[in-house]
């Protein structure tokens, strides 16, 4: 983890959404790295050590839930799912697989930033008192 600006990995296949997230996050003091596919998301999550991940579920080369599962095999980095899927079962699935929070599209930028801050706090707490394994830490309900 970097000491200065937190690094956020944004995973979305829609250039429009990537664009305004990049602009807003940069303006709010984050470093932004991007991925448009599931494969690229896994590669960047491993190589660039982001402090948190904003993850879309509908990716052209696979489902975002598989990305959550793969990342959780080796990392505790906070993951906030950002998806248009609004059904309860989808949220339960994603959270049980290891996501820390779930934001529905469309969303207000203020709410997304607040949830991102919360996820980063939990991520810091988790690294400060590392737990070996077992069920996911309870995601905070902010």
């Amino acid at each position: 983890m970097t000491a200065g600006r937190p690094r956020i990995l944004v995973v979305d296949d829609e250039p429009q959404i990537l664009r305004f997230l990049r602009t807003s996050l940069a303006a709010n003091g984050y470093d932004v790295i991007e991925a448009a596919t599931a494969a690229e998301a896994l590669r960047r999550a491993a190589a660039d050590a982001p402090d948190a991940i904003l993850l879309d579920l509908g990716l052209p080369d696979g489902d975002g839930k598989d990305v959550v599962r793969a990342i959780r095999e080796g990392s505790r980095v906070p993951i906030v799912v950002v998806s248009a899927r609004a059904r309860e079962a989808e949220k339960i699935d994603a959270l049980d697989l290891g996501a820390d929070d779930y934001v529905n599209k469309p969303f207000g930028m203020g709410e997304l930033l607040a949830r991102l801050r919360a996820a980063l706090r939990h991520g810091l707490a988790a690294t400060a008192t590392p737990r070996s394994s077992g069920p996911d830490p309870c995601p905070s309900i902010s």
Binding site: Q16, S24, A26, G58, A84, P106, M109
Partner: protein
């Protein structure tokens, strides 16, 4: 119009009479009549018309006559109109005979039928068979009907067929062979000429394919006696021969000669003439060759035994020959029944609607049973009459109950059965292994029996299979339509949720960031966010426009204008409408200055180009281009990109609604290309895709439109 008329009534006037009526003002008003007389009502025209009318009426009446004869099983010939029969034999003359018959049939506007007759129980030679097949195929091509007959007696069978079909002219080939063969062989032509009453026989010979003019045979009342006469002649011949050789041969050998003559008669003419010949032979043998000679007394025991053996052998031979003939006749009937079934099966195969099918079934049953027939099919809970022949036949309520019973139990009912036998009708189900699908009723005094019943059941079984086939086809079509509707609905739903949500997310997110951030945001970020809002709104607008366009295309609710459109204007307009994001990539334009305008609808063409350019920009790696070329009276406008191209398996569906070729870089709706295609076709143009376009990459869409006049 005449073909469709139910009845034709012919009123015949001489041209002079008609002109007189015209002059009296009975046809046209007087001021029109003068002009009519000068222009069209000339005596020449009127005579030609009169000939035409008379001939059409005659043809019509001829058809009705043949139909009547068939219906009432009357054998011809019934002298009315001309009908032509071409006999095709294995002698290689078949094609010449068929051509000659066709030529005359054309001149007389008469139907012609080509027939080949196979000898029962004899295998045709391969060469002869090939020539027959060739001739029959030729007859089929020339518009003739083709029939195959099987017979023991060639001449008999041909004449029977000719009388039944009411043929007036028979064409037959005669090959030129050596005179001695001609003399020895019983000539088919000779026999036909002798025995055909009232039928003109045309002989087509080898060297001269044109028909020699026909000779009508004389009426021979005694032809039935011919086999008996032949038998007597054979016996007389043997007497003469035996008288010559009697000094060399024993009486037993003489008996063998007589037996040979009897067997010859039996094989050639059947049982009765053979029996007659054997009696004659017995008497002649007794009279001329047994002691005492020239009396009918018998002196020696051994002669008596020889005579007894002779009579028994002759009798057995005659009976056997008779049985063989009877079997040949039965075989012919069975072949006729098979032919009927085959013909019916072919018509069933061609029937694509229930009405066609029921029509064929009822007519076939009517032909088989010879009485009125009605086809009933289930209609909801009831049975509906689908076809009746004759058309005015109908069922009573009691009859319907019997019909329902027959359908429900898949068993015959009505007249001649144990169920409701008081009905005037006999009901037979059309059933498959699983269920009864319809009922056929025939009005008969008793239920069909034997061969007729078996053939009728065969017909009904085939009808049931065809009914099932039609029902399954309808189900399959319905299921396919439902599946397609379902696919479209789910495609529309997923497209709406994705294509509405994405721009909405961008707009909402960017707008809220602008509001929250306020003045803290750097200027560049603020303008970027504002651009995102604008971009999202444009995208929403285009999506809604596409949906509306699609709806209009589907409803067929717009008329494409045909105006002169400048291609460069249309391209610039389309690029202007494309988003800034797309326009970020440079579009290479290659539009010649001397390009003629196209005949198109400016708005539709621009929309089609927008969709193609949008699609190209989505997939391009680095470059998008648009170019146009004039090709004779057409103009081709191509939009290309250097992206990964389209997978071969996606090409056929690329223009389908809601079809998205994978991988789709930023989830389009799957509407753009289908709209482009719809619009281009509505303007009378064509659209095509070529992929890969160059070096295994890229795609190239080409719109082809008619060029307008040069500016």
């Amino acid at each position: 119009m005449l073909e469709r008329a139910a009845e034709i009534e012919l009123i015949d006037l001489t041209p002079e009479e008609l002109l007189a009526r015209l002059a009296e003002g009975k046809v046209y008003a007087p001021h029109l009549a003068g002009r009519a007389r000068e222009s069209f009502f000339k005596p020449g025209n009127l005579t030609a018309l009169r000939e035409l009318a008379l001939r059409r009426a005659a043809e019509r009446v001829d058809d009705q006559l043949v139909g009547y004869m068939r219906a009432h099983a009357i054998e011809g010939p019934w002298a009315a109109g001309e009908r032509i029969l071409a006999l095709v034999g294995p002698d290689g003359l078949g094609p010449a005979v068929v051509r000659a018959a066709n030529r005359i049939a054309d001149q007389l506007r008469a139907p012609f039928v080509a027939v080949t007759v196979e000898a029962a129980g004899r295998l045709p030679s391969p060469a002869g068979d090939a020539s027959v097949a060739e001739a029959l195929a030729l007859a089929g091509r020339l518009g003739g009907r083709v029939e195959r007959l099987v017979a023991t007696d060639l001449v008999d069978e041909i004449l029977r067929f000719a009388r039944k079909g009411n043929f007036t002219q028979i064409f037959v080939g005669r090959s030129r062979s050596a005179w001695w063969r001609e003399a020895l062989r019983r000539s088919l032509v000779g026999a036909l000429v002798r025995r055909a009453d009232g039928v003109a026989i045309h002989v087509v010979s080898e060297s001269r394919p044109a028909p020699r003019s026909g000779s009508t045979a004389e009426r021979l009342e005694w032809r039935r006696a011919l086999p008996y006469a032949a038998g007597l002649a054979a016996v007389a011949g043997v007497v003469g021969l035996a008288t010559i050789v009697r000094d060399l041969a024993t009486t037993a050998n003489v008996a063998m000669l007589f037996l040979g003559a009897v067997i010859f008669v039996a094989v050639r003419f059947g049982a009765r003439p053979a029996l007659a010949a054997s009696v004659a032979a017995f008497l002649a043998y007794n009279f001329f060759f047994t002691e005492p000679v020239y009396t009918l007394n018998v002196e020696h025991w051994h002669d008596l035994i020889a005579l007894a053996v002779f009579v028994v052998v002759a009798g057995v031979t005659g009976t056997l020959a008779g049985r063989v003939r009877a079997q040949a006749l039965a075989g012919r009937e069975r072949i006729a029944a098979l032919g009927t079934l085959y013909d019916f099966a072919r018509r069933l195969g061609a029937a694509s609607t229930l009405d066609d099918l029921m029509h064929a079934v009822v007519l076939q049953a009517h032909r088989l049973v010879g009485s009125p027939a009605i086809a009933l099919l289930p209609d909801g809970d009831d049975l509906a009459e689908r076809y009746a022949w004759p058309p005015d036949e109908a069922l009573g309520d009691g009859d319907r109950a019997a019909a329902r019973w027959a359908l429900a139990h898949a068993e015959p009912a009505g007249r001649g059965t144990g169920t409701l036998p008081s009905s005037a009708w006999h009901f037979r189900p059309m059933r498959t292994a699983k269920r009864a699908l319809g009922v056929l009723c025939v009005k008969a005094d008793r239920a069909p029996e034997g061969d007729a019943a078996r053939t009728l059941d065969a017909v009904l079984d085939q009808a049931a299979v065809a009914l099932e086939r039609i029902a399954l086809e309808a189900q399959a079509a319905q299921a396919a339509a439902l599946a397609e509707t379902d696919r479209l609905r789910s495609a529309l739903l997923s497209s709406v949720s994705h294509d509405l949500r994405t721009p909405l997310t961008a707009i909402l997110g960017a707008a809220s960031a602008l509001r929250d951030g306020g003045d803290r945001l750097p200027t560049a970020a603020r303008s970027d966010l504002a651009a995102t809002v604008e971009e999202g709104a444009r995208r929403l607008d285009r999506f809604v426009a596409n949906l509306l366009d699609m709806t209009r295309l589907e409803a067929g609710a717009f008329a494409a204008k045909r105006e002169l459109v400048d291609v460069a204007d249309a391209v610039e307009g389309a690029l202007g409408r494309l988003s800034r994001e797309r326009a970020g990539r440079s579009v290479r334009r290659d539009l010649p200055g001397d390009l003629p305008p196209v005949l198109a609808d400016a708005v539709l063409l621009e929309t089609a180009l927008v969709n193609l350019l949008d699609n190209a920009a989505k997939h391009a790696a680095s470059a998008v281009g648009v170019e146009a070329r004039a090709a004779r009276d057409r103009v081709r406008i191509a939009v290309w990109d250097d992206g990964p191209g389209v997978r071969p398996e996606d090409l056929p569906r690329l223009f389908d609604r809601f079809f998205r070729a994978a991988p789709s870089p930023d989830g389009g709706v799957g509407l753009g290309l289908s709209i482009a295609k719809g619009f281009v076709e509505a303007m009378g143009g064509a659209i095509a895709i070529e992929s890969p376009a160059a070096q295994g990459r890229g795609a190239r869409f080409t719109i082809e439109l008619p060029a307008g006049a040069p500016p």
